[in-house]
């Protein structure tokens, strides 16, 4: 077990990559606190972990709200005394060009995907400093490194996540706080299905297109979770400020 005795706070832990990571971290011995807006789905994951003999708790949280972020960090510290791992994973997507995008959608995507990382990190980092370090992992995207069609605000938000990651790595490396991000390619989650819907495309056709990459398939949430585990564990003790691309070769070049 690679995370024995660790406490991990995972945003967006009720579904997709966050759910798979919550399950994996718990199997690896971590106490997992899931912060998610969807309390019902979050509770299902918590129960699943408990049934498997792990420890997990749910805090209903809007990660774009400063008070909610403070509350989930406070209650985690009260219950478990520390936070070793912060996985800023909550994210949403709007598939639109700048012409089709409303200002409300711009603000919402930026708040959930980027501002949440700022709000949670500023609560968690002072405690990591006191306990001698920690690992912060942010979910960026392949589209945080390269542009994509009809994804203007998503690309803007994920590009911001990549550079926010590097800036935080520079600031907090001396305190032994490692900050890295993951750049997943298309992964079989609810978000992928919602993209097909937003674009008005048939799910099958959308998935066939998404699979067009060197490995010839989309990823599974578990595969992204294992990358998060690498970054969370001591196996990556010299890794900070890195964007770990996990995309089946999608960004390597055209097939």
């Amino acid at each position: 077990m690679q995370l024995t005795g660790k406490v991990a706070l995972i945003t967006g832990g009720a579904s997709g990559i966050g759910r798979a990571t919550s399950l994996l971290f718990a199997r690896e011995g971590a106490t997992v606190v899931i912060a998610d807006l969807n309390a019902q789905a979050g509770q299902v994951v918590v129960n699943e972990i408990a049934q498997a003999g792990g420890r997990a708790f749910l805090e209903s949280t809007d990660v774009s709200n400063a008070n909610d972020c403070r509350r989930v960090v406070d209650s985690t510290l009260r219950e478990f005394g520390k936070i070793d791992i912060l996985f800023n994973n909550a994210g949403i997507i709007r598939r639109a060009t700048v012409l089709d995008l409303s200002e409300e959608d711009w603000d919402r995507v930026m708040a959930v995907n980027v501002k949440s990382i700022f709000l949670l990190s500023r609560e968690v980092i002072p405690h990591m400093q006191k306990t001698g370090g920690g690992s912060i992992i942010n979910t960026a995207s392949g589209w945080g490194l390269s542009g994509g069609a009809k994804a203007a605000v998503y690309c803007a938000s994920k590009g911001a996540v990549v550079l926010l990651t590097k800036a935080m790595a520079v600031d907090h490396g001396p305190q032994n706080i490692r900050v890295n991000c993951i750049c997943p390619g298309d992964t079989a989650t609810g978000m992928l299905r919602s993209e097909a819907q937003q674009l008005g495309e048939a799910n099958d056709r959308f998935l066939t297109e998404a699979a067009k990459r060197p490995l010839g398939r989309v990823g599974t949430p578990e595969e992204i979770a294992r990358a998060a585990l690498y970054l969370a564990s001591d196996a990556s003790s010299f890794v900070t400020g890195t964007a770990l691309v996990v995309d089946g070769g999608g960004l390597a070049g055209s097939v």
Partner: protein, 253 residues
Amino acid sequence: MRLENKVALITGGTSGIGEAVADLFAREGAKVAITGRNESRGHAVTARILESGGQAIFLRTDVRKAAECKRAIDETLSSFGCLDILFNNAGIFFPQTALECSEEEWDLQIDTNLKGTFLMSKYALAPMIAQGSGVIINNSSGWGLVGGDKAVAYCASKGGVVLMTKAMAVDHGRQGIRVNCICPGDVDTPMLPEDAKLRGLDWKTYLAGCENRPMGRIGTPDEIAKAVLFLASDDSSFMTGAALVVDGGGTAD
């Protein structure tokens, strides 16, 4: 154990990062073939692995020579029956500007660091394609992503390694082969004091420069080995064509 029943070939496995990877892979259950040019060091590494219950062979190889690369792959296959993981790690470095680097020194660095990676991959791919799976990990460098002072041939070779990694990932993904590289920052290996000496810097001054990165220290060979293990194992099953930076934040700013 994460590499049980796997066969791994590690070039430049007689010291530094290669040696740490050989040790770690053997502990994780892999049968390891290591190559290098220094026979006595090579046998010392394999002897240590054998003593702790692992399986290892040393194959004296100059990765600049096609025939020797082919022989290393053939002997690994005949000793262990298959090849699952190739770690192209052999590398050399001379601190030189374009004005200081001779043509011979240019060729030596490019041929070892870049052409050696091509040659070993070329012969390793055939058995990997035949078995429908394989992992290739190339050792690039932070200086394969950003420029460094007095490092023209090294930077050129390591930049080449990053893009050859991506090109090979595109070519061989559909055959079940993943190709990734690591980009280490300064690591506590014999390469560092050699570099300090060639630059005419005393060790303390040189080391202080290396430690000037967000994490405030250089890496250990074992920390790089763990990144290579991640890329070699099924934990990275959706990763190909990636450059994994392991540098204590050195290239973050």
